[in-house]
């Protein structure tokens, strides 16, 4: 772990990404404690305020403190995105490995189907599913997870296949190793790394997708302080207070950038040969 972090810090992307993500994690953990106000308390007298000492990032249409809402919202946004990605990655990894393992016509069939599913734009897919499941964060998570699965499956499979062709796997087979050992000890460690990288990059995408769903009214619901929802609500008050829309937008962008950078950093860091 320490080694990995050291490797990460070597590249600028890794260093920057790691620090941003670390910051976000801290916010998720201690955010609510650090929040200067209760995120739901309304204050009729201080609506649409810009940044001020009392309200660092200003207030929204109910006079709620935007900073506090952002801090609370970090969980609603990032954690959900993470869960969605995890779900998608796991499902995808299983399908992908299975496909690679079965090989032949089964592999063909699975992958063609995966391709087919992938020809539905992921946002549309997520929309349909979210709509089918209902309108809530959990449903959105499911939707994104399912929408991600095919892509992950494809990647896992291709990685698995390349690893499968490596001589050390041949060596293991020639040695008469059991399938379990080959998959778990020889292949998996080499398959996992690329998947982690991909997953990290997808978290960034998930944050955005999740926010987008909320924005379209299919994700988190008021009075939740999910960032995408905050942007969506703020749109109506754009002209009364641009701040309301600016901050959550920046927050989303920052997190996405963080995970994108981290992903690219990990790609280098996880390569054992460098």
């Amino acid at each position: 772990m320490i080694e990995l972090i050291r490797r990460l810090l070597r590249t600028p992307q890794g260093a920057l990404g790691l620090s941003i993500v670390a910051l976000v994690l801290v916010l998720i953990l201690v955010g609510p404690l650090a929040a200067p106000h209760d995120p739901d308390t309304m204050a009729p007298l201080v609506r649409y305020k810009g940044p001020s000492p009392a309200y660092w990032l200003g207030t929204d249409q109910y006079g709620r403190d935007i900073l506090s809402r952002l801090l609370y919202g970090a969980r609603a946004t990032v954690v959900m995105a993470f869960l969605a990605t995890a779900l998608g990655s796991i499902v995808g990894a299983v399908v992908g490995t299975l496909s690679a393992f079965l090989g032949g016509r089964a592999d063909e069939a699975i992958m063609r189907t995966v391709d087919a599913v992938m020809s539905i734009p992921s946002l549309l897919f997520a929309l349909l599913i979210a709509n089918l499941l209902g309108k809530s964060s959990v449903d959105a998570v499911m939707a994104i997870g399912i929408a991600f699965a095919p892509g992950m499956a494809r990647i896992t499979r291709s990685v698995a296949l390349t690893v499968r062709k490596q001589d050390y796997v041949h060596a293991a087979i020639a040695r008469g190793e059991g399938g379990a050992y080959i998959v778990l000890r020889e292949m998996l460690p080499n398959v996992v790394a690329p998947i982690i990288v991909e997953a990290t990059l997808r978290i960034a995408f998930a944050v955005m997708l999740f926010a987008t769903l909320s924005f379209l009214g299919l994700g988190a619901q008021p009075p939740a302080s999910e960032w995408g929802l905050m942007v969506a609500e703020a749109r109506r008050f754009m002209h009364l207070s641009p701040w309301m829309i600016l901050w959550p937008s920046l927050a989303i962008a920052l997190v996405a950038i963080g995970f994108n950078l981290l992903g690219d950093g990990l790609r280098d860091a996880l390569n054992p040969r460098t």
Binding site: D167, A171, P272
Partner: protein, 557 residues
């Protein structure tokens, strides 16, 4: 008259965070008109750096503390990039190691030659094209007109290298650098390219610097040979002299390492016990499955053949060499014997019949081990050496005392320090990795080890030591080897019998004595002749003399 290429006291450093690393140290070289200078060195010796330095193609972190490189008296080191660009390809050309990668896959071969003529000799494209055809003809390409229009993937390796050479000679440069021009080619093709080189060298009287790791080869194509080691020219003398009386210790070691078929390394063949250890009976391997669609369209093409009914046997303690060009089915056979490829026919082990992968039980696996060509690929990059080595122990047992002791012993057996156990493969050198791979193979005390080109990725001296190790182990354990290689000289040094394969067929299987006596099969003969023997003077490529010309591709079996 000044030498065409004159390098004097030239030094090159590469700047790195950990201070400058010296790549070339006070190099002095001179090549006269019509002269061929061979530059021999192992990987990392700096021979390629020197080539780049001459071509003025140095990375950003290159530093040149001093020295000069003169082309016909003109100082190159001080020229501007523009001047250099104008001079490359026109006055100084280069031929690269791998024609497969040094040609642009998306441009026609002719175009890649013509563009040079257009650039340097200000020809119109039509003129350039016509000229190009002439060049192609000159380098012995059949049907030059068609060849001009072909794309790299439509030409064979030899043809491609001829194109590259034609390009290098296109503007009759004063000097050409040949960077391992035959290393990527098959023995016979390589030989043809060498002949072509000699031919052109003689008639154009270009000054050529021939860079190679293969001392034997260089000694035969060059007038003079320079040996480079750790960035220094350690010895420079006539091609004849370098073998007969080397001065420098390194040179001596190098020469010692060069496989010399005249010098047997392995002991006499074991007395045939009657019962062969492993016997392959009409083993055939086919690749790929025909797609249903193809069948549907009625062209279920014949599937790619890896092996066609190969039958051979290995006696206990015997070293059976298998030689042949790439794609001749050597490795396929190895994979079949180790259950990595499904095969038809049957294998007999200790008289037991093995009809397919299913029959390869633990005992068989344990007794038949394989070592692969590339140690980087055959050692799992995410496992420590300890785990890699303890695996077979866990699988086959046979270890006395604690696991790490056994691992240490295995390492010691291949002359590696015990503390390597804690390392990861990428922390080891190529030779060390291969030793680990060998240790892994021997962990199960096998009776047959299949060595699939295990030395071809290694430097000469490393190769020698690995071979040494193998023979040592063989002596100790009486293990039999199936030694697959394309290096005829090497196999002639160690094998008791040699199987020659060609395009999936076993064309000849003969004792080493028979081979020395002169093989019967035409292909085997061509193979043997193609390889330069590492003996000063008695060269079978005489520079300037027209060689018999390319050998026809097909052989009667």
């Amino acid at each position: 008259m000044p030498p065409v290429l004159e390098i004097s006291n030239y030094t090159l450093d590469y700047a790195s965070p950990r201070g400058d690393a010296r790549a070339l140290d006070a190099i002095d070289l001179a090549i006269g008109r019509g002269e061929a200078l061979g530059l021999v060195g192992e990987s990392g010796s700096g021979k390629t750096s020197l080539a780049w330095a001459i071509m003025r193609y140095l990375p950003g972190n290159a530093r040149e503390p001093g020295g000069s490189i003169k082309l016909s008296g003109e100082e190159l080191t001080t020229k501007t990039p523009a001047e250099i660009a104008a001079l490359r390809g026109r006055r100084i050309g280069m031929v690269f190691q791998d024609p497969g990668t040094s040609l642009n896959p998306t441009l026609p071969l002719g175009e890649q030659l013509a563009e040079v003529l257009v650039r340097h000799r200000a020809l119109t494209r039509r003129q350039a094209w016509a000229e190009g055809e002439a060049m192609f003809a000159r380098v012995g390409l059949k049907q030059p007109a068609q060849m001009m229009r072909r794309y790299p993937h439509e030409a064979s390796g030899g043809e491609k290298q001829r194109v590259v050479i034609a390009t290098a000679f296109a503007c009759n440069p004063e000097c050409i650098l040949f960077d391992e021009p035959t290393t990527a080619l098959d023995v016979i093709t390589a030989r043809q390219i060498l002949d072509l080189f000699a031919e052109l060298q003689a008639e154009t009287s270009v000054a050529s610097l021939y860079i190679s790791h293969d001392l034997a080869l260089v000694a035969q194509v060059a007038h003079r040979v320079a040996v480079i080691h750790r960035g220094r020219i350690v010895e420079q003398r006539t091609a004849a002299g370098i073998f007969t009386n080397p001065r420098n210790d390194y040179t001596k070691r190098l020469i010692a390492a060069v496989p010399d078929p005249g010098r047997r390394l392995s002991g006499a063949a074991p007395i045939p016990s009657g019962v062969p250890l492993v016997e392959a009976r009409a083993v055939s391997v086919h690749y790929g499955r025909t797609s249903r669609l193809a069948t549907f369209f009625g062209r279920a093409r014949e599937r790619v053949v890896g092996n066609r009914a190969v039958s051979l046997s290995v006696d206990p303690g015997e070293i059976l060499g298998i030689v042949g060009e790439s794609g001749s089915g050597k490795s396929t056979l190895a994979k079949a014997l180790t259950g990595l490829n499904p095969f038809t026919g049957e294998i007999r082990f200790d008289g037991r019949r093995i009809g397919g992968i299913a029959d390869m039980d633990k005992a068989y696996r344990r007794n038949v081990q394989i070592v692969f060509q590339h140690p980087d690929a055959s050692l799992n990059p995410r496992q420590r050496i300890a785990e890699i080595l303890s695996r077979p122990l866990a699988l086959y047992g046979g270890q006395d005392g604690p696991r790490d002791m056994a691992v240490a012993r295995l390492l010691e057996q291949v002359h590696l320090p015990a503390d390597y156990a804690r390392r990861y493969p990428h922390e080891l050198s190529g030779g060390e990795k291969q030793r680990v791979a060998i240790a892994r193979a021997f962990a199960s005390k096998p009776r047959l080890v299949i060595c699939d080109e295990i030395t071809s990725a290694l430097d000469v001296s490393v190769q020698a030591s690995v071979v040494e190790l193998l023979l040592d182990l063989q002596r100790r354990h009486g293990t039999a080897y199936l030694f697959i290689t394309h290096d005829i000289n090497l196999v002639r040094q160690i094998a008791h019998r040699i199987a020659v394969m060609y395009r999936g067929d076993l064309v000849e299987l003969l004792d080493i004595e028979q081979l020395e006596a002169g093989p019967r099969h035409r292909y085997t003969r061509a193979l043997i002749e193609a390889v330069p023997r590492p003996v000063g003077g008695t060269t079978n490529i005489t520079i300037g003399r027209h060689s018999p010309g390319p050998i026809p591709g097909g052989f009667d079996k």
